[in-house]
């Protein structure tokens, strides 16, 4: 395991304002995550695990504290820089797949590459590689509605890894899947961590899913209570 953490979180707090009430989602959280780790964030609803994931991934901002990803303080990036940073460094996997229904699997996977300077042929090559990696090399021309939930989630994983990001963040990726599909998806994420040395951070409620990770962080009331 590398000495320098990929993700260094220091005294991170997030306070939401709901009407006149301040709700603390994260309270002074500090944690290091290293390259190749498969970190599972667990905890009850409202514990702050998704908020932590969103801040690490640069789709939400902290109220206080810092998140350094490969030495870059994400909080210091403006909206435009953050968008570029996400495209280059983060792959997203959502609970409800979030594929674009009018695009084929290959086109969905290609989407993040449209923002890069890669040519069409190179994009196609990368897309084919990513789909092959998740075992859907022959389903590239299928639309999401022609695929099962497990297959759709695997397409989403292919989309997440096609830009070769540092981080792959997954927000309850197995929440909408049956046991077999869930196991397939978790195995792929595990393999990305073990074989490709990707840093995977996953939020889940499922204790079985947690067994696929290399490390579990348990959050309660915005604090890490078990590591």
């Amino acid at each position: 395991m590398a000495a320098e953490p990929i993700v260094a979180i220091r005294e991170l707090s997030k306070v939401y304002q709901q009407g006149e009430i301040n709700v603390t989602a994260l309270n002074e959280v500090s944690v290091d995550i290293h390259e190749g780790e498969f970190v599972v964030l667990m905890g009850p609803s409202g514990s702050g695990k998704s908020t932590l994931l969103h801040i690490i991934a640069g789709i939400d901002r902290a109220t206080k504290g810092s998140v350094l990803v490969q030495g870059i303080n994400v909080a210091n990036l403006n909206e435009s820089e953050l968008a570029d940073w996400r495209n280059q460094n983060v792959g997203f996997v959502f609970q409800s797949f979030n594929l674009i229904p009018v695009l084929t699997a290959a086109e969905n996977v290609e989407l993040p590459l449209l923002l890069t300077s890669l040519g069409r042929a190179e994009r196609r090559r990368q897309v084919a590689l990513a789909l092959e990696l998740v075992g859907l090399g022959d389903r590239g021309h299928h639309r999401p509605d022609q695929m099962s939930g497990g297959q759709q989630q695997r397409v989403a994983i292919a989309r997440a890894l096609v830009t070769d990001p540092t981080l792959i963040v997954a927000d309850e990726p197995t929440g909408n899947l049956d046991a077999k599909s869930a196991s397939d998806v978790l195995t792929i994420l595990q393999s990305l961590s073990r074989v490709s040395k990707k840093t995977v951070i996953m939020v889940t409620h499922d204790p079985k899913a947690a067994h696929f990770g290399t490390r579990s962080l348990h959050l309660e009331k915005g604090e890490i209570v078990a590591d």
Partner: protein, 381 residues
């Protein structure tokens, strides 16, 4: 896949809605073009180079008041005038028609030839028309419309004058901006009316456009403080006087056009807002993947603009095709003569559609720009 393909697939994801939007924009644009064409038809009299040289003098009291025929001798001597003829509107009904769409004028045939500058005799003979007191000179459009030929007779029932006309067609003209009129001998009208010694108006041609204002002033001055003062004006000003009798048509048409444009805007904004709202989560995902606000705005704008442009092409093209190939003169009994959908009008229609496409993209684009990724994902999760 590339970005234009992505935009196209998004625009056509709900084909029924896209089609209905295109149809609504097409109908609105077609209607707008039709209204602008109607406005042009009603408010802009046909113009020609020769028309700028022509002057009409009428009784200062009103058009209905005749002028003394003896004024001719005075007008003839006014410098700058190269031709003048009495010009009296007969206003009869042809055959059994209750409303006849072409005008009939009593003129002095010899003198009138000097005013028919752009018109050419295409059938019969002008000399024969001059020689026969009961003959008439007819516009080619009227000949064609009623299937008339040289030698046929045209019977008119008087409405302004208590007399009827029975004229023999001896010449046909073509090439003027309005090839519908019928011209006959003033002498015949005088005879039928018991030689009252009056004319409706004086129709003059000046030697050059530069002197027309000067000549108008001279004509007006010549009959100042007489029993029959005149009001001389250019042919165009005279025609515009008739237009003003229709009321403020321009304002009315503009109001209706404004309502059409406003409705069009509401339809497209509403459609685009609905289309974007149902894709909020997808847009949030695109943001998460690294797409910037400007790119999302470009997607929305391209989609909205694309639908508006397709609608405009269908609507404006449809209106052009319809009004160009339909014989409106026949259908409206001559009320609408040209109804020409000019390039300028089509450009107006296209410009309005383009602006609508742009404007309707703004509210959903602003909404999308303000949306954070986490909000977008939560909203529809």
């Amino acid at each position: 896949m590339n970005l234009p393909t992505f935009v196209l697939k998004n625009a056509l994801r709900n084909r029924r809605r896209a089609l209905l939007t295109i149809i609504s924009v097409a109908i609105s644009c077609g209607l707008l073009v039709t209204l602008l064409t109607l406005q042009r038809e009603l408010t802009i009299p046909p113009e020609s180079e020769a028309a700028s040289l022509r002057i009409i003098a009428r009784n200062k009291v009103s058009l209905a008041q005749p002028l003394p025929a003896k004024q001719l001798a005075v007008i003839e001597r006014i410098p700058g005038i190269v031709a003048v003829t009495p010009f009296t509107f007969f206003g009869g009904n042809f055959r059994d028609e209750t409303v006849t769409s072409f005008a009939q004028f009593a003129v002095d045939p010899k003198r009138f030839q000097g005013l028919l500058v752009e018109g050419k005799i295409v059938d019969g003979s002008y000399d024969a028309f001059v020689a026969d007191r009961t003959s008439c000179l007819v516009g080619a459009d009227t000949m064609k419309r009623y299937g008339l030929k040289i030698g046929d007779r045209m019977k008119f029932t008087g409405t302004f004058f208590p007399v009827d006309l029975d004229l023999k067609i001896l010449a046909v003209f073509q090439g003027t901006v309005d090839d519908r009129g019928v011209f006959f001998h003033h002498k015949l009208l005088d005879e039928l009316n018991g030689d009252p010694g009056t004319v409706g108006t004086w129709y003059m041609r000046v030697e050059s456009a530069e002197v027309s204002n000067e000549v108008i002033a001279r004509v007006n001055a010549a009959f100042e403080n007489t029993a029959a003062e005149v009001r001389a004006e250019t042919e165009r000003a005279f025609q515009m006087g008739f237009v003003s009798m229709l009321g403020n048509v321009k304002m009315l048409v503009m109001l209706i056009s404004g309502a059409v444009v406003f409705t069009l805007m509401l339809v497209t904004i509403s459609t685009m807002s609905m289309a974007i709202r149902e894709r909020f989560r997808e847009l949030a995902v695109l943001k998460a993947l690294g797409f910037q606000r400007r790119e999302l705005f470009a997607f929305i704008l391209a989609e909205s603009f694309g639908l508006a442009v397709v609608g405009a092409v269908v609507g404006i093209g449809g209106a052009w095709g319809l009004w160009t190939h339909l014989d409106l003169q026949k259908l409206t009994s001559g009320f609408l003569l040209y109804f020409e959908v000019t390039p300028r009008i089509m450009a107006w229609g296209a410009a309005v559609a383009a602006v609508m496409g742009l404007v309707s993209a703004i509210p959903p684009a602003v909404e999308t720009a303000r949306m954070s990724v986490t909000e977008g994902l939560k909203t529809l999760d």
